[in-house]
């Protein structure tokens, strides 16, 4: 009843191929836009805005990783290293050359993509597990290089402070302004990825994931397209790093460790491999999970145990939940939160006439 697919006739190729084909999709997008751009900023406090900004930044990273992992089927455990490449590039250009953010952001992304190509060339020739290990090595190597090269890292402290982004002379430094800043790029990333996966390049990547030998036979240069996927994924990672830098006002490599890489892998897997909604849901879930666990434990905990022990137990439970949820999703719902969402949506698609 909410959603009818009958009665809408498409009379042109463009209409058939449109991303938002049905009115319900258009309504949903308008609704979400209103929600996140108007309603939330009006009613949410700084705390919620900053959390949503963090989620927005991770959405970009998760989308990048999903392009590589979900659509091309390549495992990368070095995602965080490319973020730090992007972060330091942008920070260096911003501080040393005084470039504004709309130049340093693409520069950061491009540098990360370049490094991604460098890492990809030796590792993409071998299949499966070896790429994972090669990107793990890349993670450590890049961390080491940044740590030990004062020219990149900005000195002994290996942290570079940057000024907040300036838009047409307007300094963006309140939670609200940074929120809009981040959401803009998150939306841009979502739109870009949606278009990418529907394009020729996207179809080639999916072909490689499903049957790479067959793809090679029908003329898709597997190595070349894998390299593209890696470069694009690294570009997204670089942009994520730059966004973190501008959001926090500082670039530190200690923020982009192997644990961060694994967080992003978890986002893609729990959210759903090979789906954009999945990346967004995964980003929300993983970023907000620690907060949710803490809130639940703080409310419920004092009834069960000594408040003094609580903080330690919260932390350990959080780790156990995180790991347990990953395993649970893998065992029970391999397609992640996206599948859960699709189940709900499909139910309402034909409601109340589900027979």
């Amino acid at each position: 009843m909410f959603h009818r697919e009958c009665g809408f006739y498409k009379t042109s190729y463009e209409a058939d191929q449109a991303i938002l084909a049905f009115p319900i999709a258009r309504h949903a997008v308008i609704g979400l836009t209103l929600l996140f751009l108007v309603v939330v900023p009006l009613f949410a406090s700084d705390y919620y805005l900053s959390n949503l900004s963090l989620v927005g930044i991770t959405v970009v990273g998760a989308l990048g990783l999903n392009i590589l992992l979900g659509y091309t089927g390549q495992i990368s455990i070095g995602h965080a290293a490319f973020m730090s490449v992007g972060a330091y590039t942008a920070a260096n250009f911003a501080v040393k050359l005084g470039l504004p953010f709309y130049i340093t952001l693409p520069l950061g992304g491009c540098m990360a993509a370049l490094i991604g190509i460098l890492v990809g060339i030796p590792s993409l020739r071998v299949k499966g597990l070896y790429l994972a290990i090669a990107t793990l090595a890349a993670q450590f190597i890049i961390e080491w290089v940044i740590n030990h090269t004062p020219a990149i890292s900005g000195g002994v402290a290996a942290a570079i402070e940057v000024e907040r982004p300036v838009l047409f002379g307007w300094n963006l430094n309140s939670s609200l302004e940074l929120y809009y800043f981040v959401i803009f790029f998150a939306v841009l990333a979502i739109v870009a990825t949606t278009n990418l996966v529907r394009s020729r390049l996207g179809r080639a990547l999916i072909a490689i994931r499903d049957q790479d030998i067959a793809a090679q036979i029908i003329g898709i240069g597997v190595f070349r397209y894998k390299l593209y996927a890696f470069a694009i994924s690294s570009f997204f990672a670089g942009v994520t790093g730059v966004l973190y830098t501008y959001y926090l006002g500082i670039a530190t490599y200690e923020q982009f460790t192997i644990i961060t890489s694994i967080d992003f892998l978890a986002m893609c897997i729990i959210g759903g491999l090979g789906s954009i909604t999945g990346s967004v849901l995964g980003a929300f879930f993983i970023t907000l999970l620690p907060m949710v666990i803490r809130i639940v434990m703080e409310s419920v905990g004092p009834y069960f145990m000594d408040p003094a022990d609580l903080p330690t137990i919260i932390g350990q439970l959080r780790l156990m939940f995180f790991g347990g949820l990953i395993m649970l999703f893998l065992v029970m719902e391999p397609e992640g939160l996206n599948r859960l969402w699709l189940n709900i949506r499909n139910y309402f698609r034909v409601w109340p006439f589900s027979y």
Binding site: P122, R125, L129, H148, F322
Partner: protein
């Protein structure tokens, strides 16, 4: 003898002993890969949880070392069986990403579980091994290193024999090659999976005892698992002699880098050198020095 050369030899000896202790950890990884084709990213965490259980038994119940080791053994066996039954059996036939992520999830779970049950404070396992070094010409050997190396070699020889000569070993290799054909031949695939994971757990227990004695027992002990990857890539993911050779190479490279390259570069190359070697190996010969499988190249 020239002092630098003497120093270099001492360093190399140290590297060999440490490398063999890495091999012990990598052995668990290779066992699992050889038997079930699964990549265990949580091998370091197995070592950690085994050490935590033993140290916990020692600290809390004050039992003698021998009993604590038995408790640890019982725990790791139960853990291996439970793991296979509840987490890995549903994942048979799933793509490699899924299994890797499952072990990563497991590693987080263990990181929380250990301190939750046994407390976060670091502790140690006191083994009846003397601390003072043995001097032998220019060499300078730590007893714990010698014990570790000895245990490693013993296990490596034992498993080498097991996989080639014994019936069960051959069956496990068959299972690794193809689950379906093995089942058709009447091999109980699931039971051998459980055996593989339990064995890896037992090896992890030994690693936990030795490394726990060397560097103390707490959640940081899991980081030793990161050393596994250079070792198995260099030696070959499914090769037992490869684990020995890979371990020795990694240990010696680390030690020599620390002694001769670090002072020039200003530090830190020690942990990084094996990864560089690993990347080179991946480019030239991805299946390692002794690896058997052919890698599909694009």
């Amino acid at each position: 003898m020239h002092p630098e050369l003497e120093f270099g030899i001492a360093l190399a000896a140290e590297g060999v002993l440490t490398g063999l202790m890495y091999s012990l950890i990598a052995l668990g990884f290779v066992l699992i890969y050889k038997s079930t084709d699964a990549i265990n990213f949580a091998q370091g965490h197995f070592v950690m949880i085994a050490a935590i259980v033993v140290a916990g038994a020692l600290d809390w119940w004050g039992v003698p070392l021998f009993i604590a080791i038995l408790i640890g053994l019982a725990f790791m066996i139960a853990f291996g069986i439970g793991l296979e039954r509840f987490v890995l059996r549903p994942m048979i036939g799933r793509p490699i990403v899924a299994i890797i992520m499952a072990t990563i999830g497991l590693s987080f779970f263990l990181l929380g579980f250990g301190p939750l049950v046994f407390g976060p404070a670091p502790t140690t396992i006191n083994l009846p091994i003397p601390d003072s070094p043995i001097f032998w010409g220019p060499l300078y050997l730590k007893p714990i290193g010698l014990v570790g190396a000895g245990v490693s070699i013993a296990f490596l020889l034992g498993f080498g024999w097991f996989f080639i000569k014994s019936r069960a070993g051959v069956a496990m290799r068959a299972v690794a090659d193809s689950h379906q054909v093995s089942m058709a031949m009447g091999i109980n695939v699931e039971r051998f999976f459980a055996v593989a994971w339990v064995t890896a757990g037992v090896v992890a227990l030994l690693g936990g005892l030795l490394w726990g004695n060397m560097i103390g027992v707490d959640t940081q002990l899991a980081l030793i698992g990161l050393k596994v990857f250079p070792v198995v890539i260099l030696g070959g993911l499914d090769s037992i002699p490869g684990v020995v050779v890979g371990g020795i190479i990694v240990g010696v490279v680390e030690a020599l880098t620390s002694g001769f390259v670090d002072p020039v570069v200003g530090g830190g190359m020690k942990d990084f050198a094996p990864y560089v070697l690993m990347i080179l190996m991946l480019m030239i010969r991805p299946f390692g020095i002794f690896g058997r499988r052919q890698i599909e190249r694009i």
